[in-house]
């Protein structure tokens, strides 16, 4: 059973009651919320995700709750609560939906020490994965959203999960977080994609979430082999340029973007080292999405 098998009222009822229990790749989470206005968008964003059975292990028990006291009504707020802990300050209620995504990312980063967690987008062709570690503002999510609307499979737009035992990537196939100008860029680039209404004035600027494709969610259990590491950099007016990177520089970039590298210690060092060995590495500058995708299609023609 998948989320879209539920009617909106059934979905809302679950959110209000025992919770909506969803599998996202290797993680299961239970979501509870009394905010009815997030229900339609949540239904679209997670339409293809499987609902898990009652006896399945839940990794994260998440609730989006109303603000306390007067904040329930005056300048209404939303609070992110995981396993009874509230790790963030409350946000305006209008940000409840992106808050779920940010919160889940935080849960994975904070609690998952059995895998290497990279701050990176990842997409795949066949079983070959392209990893894009990059700081905010580099055009990583825009490029990721564009690729998944042109036949690449979404693994994750924000956190790339590398198994320590096999070095394979476990996909999450959760919504893609688009910010500011990239929202309209993707609306025009992929009019068929579902994007939520933009939420303004967040700490990241204006934010909209893009639903993952049904195929990406269906195939999320298929592990992908890391094959390319590309550091994207969007620069207005730039020509598309893919420049090979040496492995030492690639190692440092990956380690810098590995959120639990220091926690894992030597296991983290080994995991990054193995990732470096099995991938080809590039710096990538672009401004035109169609050209960028053509470039990636060139080195992954077999997908």
């Amino acid at each position: 059973m998948i989320v879209s098998n539920l009617t909106l009222s059934e979905l809302q009822s679950r959110l209000l009651g025992e919770g909506l229990t969803i599998a996202s790749g290797p993680f299961n989470f239970r979501l509870q919320s009394g905010f009815s206005d997030i229900v339609p968008d949540l239904a679209r964003l997670y339409a293809h995700h499987p609902l898990i059975t009652d006896d399945a292990f839940i990794d994260f028990h998440v609730a989006i709750e109303a603000g306390r006291g007067l904040r329930r009504w005056l300048g209404a707020q939303a609070r992110f609560v995981v396993d009874g802990v509230e790790p963030f300050t409350p946000l305006p209620q209008a940000q409840a939906l992106p808050m779920i995504e940010w919160g889940l990312n935080w849960c994975i980063s904070a609690y998952s020490q059995h895998v290497l967690v990279l701050h990176a987008a990842a997409v795949a062709r066949g079983n070959r994965a392209l990893i894009m570690p990059a700081p905010p503002g580099s055009g990583k999510s825009t490029l990721c959203a564009a690729l998944v609307n042109r036949g690449w499979r979404l693994l994750s737009d924000e956190l790339t999960i590398i198994r320590l035992d096999t070095g394979e990537i476990s996909g999450l196939a959760r919504p893609v977080n688009l910010k500011n100008a990239s929202i309209n860029v993707i609306r025009h680039f992929a009019p068929e994609a579902f994007l939520t209404k933009p939420v303004r004035d967040t700490v990241k600027g204006t934010v909209a979430l893009m639903a993952p494709s049904a195929q990406s969610v269906r195939d999320v259990g298929q592990a992908a082999q890391p094959y390319w590491v590309v550091l994207p950099h969007y620069r207005a007016g730039a020509s598309t340029a893919l420049v090979p990177m040496q492995t030492g520089a690639a190692f440092l970039q990956i380690a810098e973007n590995a959120m639990n590298y220091h926690v894992l210690g030597i296991r983290g060092f080994d995991a990054v080292g193995q990732l470096v060995d099995r991938c080809r590495h590039f710096n990538f500058e672009y401004s035109d999405l169609e050209e960028a995708i053509a470039q990636f299609d060139l080195f992954a023609p077999e997908g």
């Binding site: 492995t247 030492g248 190692f251 030597i266 080292g273």
Partner: protein, 105 residues
């Protein structure tokens, strides 16, 4: 650039060195060094690794000339003057990152 020929260099004494494990990985540019105690990760040139290994191999102090001699033993075709400049630069970088120590004789 001024070459500091009067200084002596030596490995960080064991009792002051990290109690963690040092691991290395060879990469295109040289070596990645990871110290599990401090959590620091550094990209070092092959010459920097050579100098660290040389100083680690024994406890005595080495002058710039000693180290240059050792490099030239390993790479007899290298130019001594260029080698001095390269080694001096590496010694300054390694000391500034506290990967080796230096002292006045």
């Amino acid at each position: 650039m001024m070459i500091c020929s009067g200084l002596q260099y030596f490995a960080i004494p064991r009792n002051l060195a990290s109690s963690g494990t040092i691991v290395w990985k060879e990469v295109d540019e040289g070596w990645i060094r990871y110290d599990s105690n401090s959590g620091s990760t550094q990209l070092l040139t092959p010459l920097a690794r050579f100098v660290i290994d040389l100083l680690d191999a024994n406890t005595r102090m080495h002058s710039l000339a000693d180290i240059v001699d050792a490099v030239l033993d390993a790479e007899p075709n290298a130019n001594r003057k260029e080698c001095e400049i390269e080694v001096d630069t590496v010694l300054k970088i390694l000391s500034s990152h506290q990967l080796i120590q230096k002292d006045q004789p």
